[in-house]
Amino acid sequence: MPKRKIGVIRAILAVFFFFLMNLRVLEPLVEIEATGLPLPVLNCFSMGVFIIVNRPSSTIVCAMGALQRSIAQGYIPLLTIGVIILIGAIIGRAFCGWVCPFGLIQEALWRIAGKKNKIKFDLSYVQDAILLLVIFTVILKGLVTVAILSIQLPIYGKIIDETFYEGPFCAFCPSATLLIILPSKMLEVALTGEISLTPWAILRLSILAFFIAASLFTPRPFCRWICPLGVLMGYFNKISLLTIKRDPTKCIKCDKCLRNCPMKINIIEYETITSKKCIKCLSCVDVCHKKALSVSIK
């Protein structure tokens, strides 16, 4: 493969997958059935609401959303868990690097801003904590729904209400804000010349603005610090079939891979890159001029 081409291929593929995942945008022209396939990408299944077809245009289901909603409504999401395990065991966290639209937007901003890394703290523990918190909340809600637990979940006005417990992460998800709330508000301004913002929308838009601004100073801040779906898939990196290997006899420790890595993994520490942060974007393989890094299948 010619040098420095993987980034371009990734961008093209991400756009292609984004179109494929939201194919129902074409519904006014052609009738398309939603597949309902749960995939580990932050492509909200509410996508397209109010904008073009006045109903979701997504053909797939975000695995995180599906997990939360199913468990909270008292189902055991066998299909979603099965897909997560299957994809994780084969390619690990590669969906984050090749398909996830929000990740790609953050990375593109980082690369345009000159690949700066000014925010260096590691918040991977926060990511684990968020995942645990989300799972705990939905399980609690699920137990209440199926009447195993008879407790009243706390409600704080309009923000934390009954629907919050069905998708505690979805309630803050900046990807959904970027792909649903922001376009609909922009459309509202364009059509009516006015904008009506709920406190919830302001909070969500500020979260989105924070991550967009942070992307200019550090690569993929949301993926590295917050995304619970990413960390869930990252646990599979240790055993996934698709791995990246470093040949220590060829490696000259020039740090090129580290500088180019969007997840800021210290690659020279590993012989087989099993870090849960690795999104298998192959940027490191692309820049290594000594060919010390290679993709391998176990």
Binding site: S70, L86, R204
Partner: protein, 270 residues
């Protein structure tokens, strides 16, 4: 002024280091011809006279030993004069001075990761170097056993033996790890080298390349176990997907797409 290059301090390996030229005939120094131009040539004797080095006779073995004995006695005396306990004791705390409360900050443990072969080899070689230094110290201690007091000797020996034991254990475990990953042990100096090394990085001895079969089986076993686990996970995933489809998950997920999500609606509706 030396009349022969071989007496000159600037003469080395058939070259004059001062003029940076090759000297074909050391008996006729080329610098003598340059003398007229102002170049200064110094012999070893001249240099010694200038810096005032006295001529010394080589010390006899007895003199060396007597010096060592004196040095040993000096140490004994100084240890008795300044006991360790007194030095180590803290100064008494002043009354009325409040000590600020100490805040204990818990540091989150670093995630463990497997050491790379390079790291193991580096660690092994540094421990090996320390061990050899300690062994040398022990043999020195044995050699000069009579010159130092028996208490100091016993204490020092015990300390050294403890450290050596610990280092030997560490070396064994590191060697086990490294050898299983394909490292080559130098037969001359016991240092470990990368599988691709042709000569020892420590002593320069030529190394014999290890056959892959020697160290690969264990790795292969590990890989096999990992692969088995991965494939069993894949199988589990497929079973769960099948069960999910039978359970009606597919239609449930499809129904999710038909309705707009409540948490997004909250942000959209005033």
């Amino acid at each position: 002024m030396p009349k022969d290059c071989r007496d000159c301090i600037f003469f080395s390996n058939g070259r004059c280091l001062k003029l940076n030229i090759k000297v074909d005939n050391p008996a006729s120094p080329p610098c003598l011809e340059k003398e007229k131009t102002g170049a200064i040539t110094l012999s070893l004797e001249d240099l010694e006279k200038i810096i005032g080095v006295e001529e010394k006779k080589p010390a006899t073995l007895e003199e060396v030993f007597s010096e060592i004995r004196e040095y040993g006695e000096e140490i004994e005396v100084s240890r008795e004069e300044v006991p360790f306990k007194e030095v180590a004791e803290k100064p008494p705390r002043k009354e009325g001075v409040e000590v600020p409360p100490v805040e204990i900050v818990s540091v989150p443990p670093k995630p463990k990761r497997e050491l790379t072969l390079e790291e193991i080899i580096r660690k092994y070689n540094s421990v090996l170097e320390d061990l050899q230094k300690n062994l040398n110290s022990l043999s020195m201690l044995e050699e000069f056993k009579d010159t130092i007091s028996p208490e100091v000797y016993e204490e020092r020996k015990r300390e050294l033996e403890e450290v050596i034991d610990e280092q030997q254990k560490k070396l064994k475990s590191l060697e086990k790890m490294a050898v299983s990953k394909g490292a080559i042990k130098c037969p001359q100096c016991n240092a470990l080298n990368l599988p691709s090394s042709k000569v020892c990085t420590r002593c320069g001895r030529k190394l014999v390349k290890r056959k892959k079969e020697e160290y690969e089986p264990k790795r292969k076993e590990k890989l096999k176990a990992k692969r088995f686990f991965t494939f069993s996970l894949i199988a589990l995933g497929i079973i769960l997907i099948y069960m999910g489809i039978l359970n009606g998950d597919w239609s449930y997920l499809k129904s999710l797409i038909q309705i707009p999500c409540a948490s997004c609606l909250k942000g959209l509706l005033p």
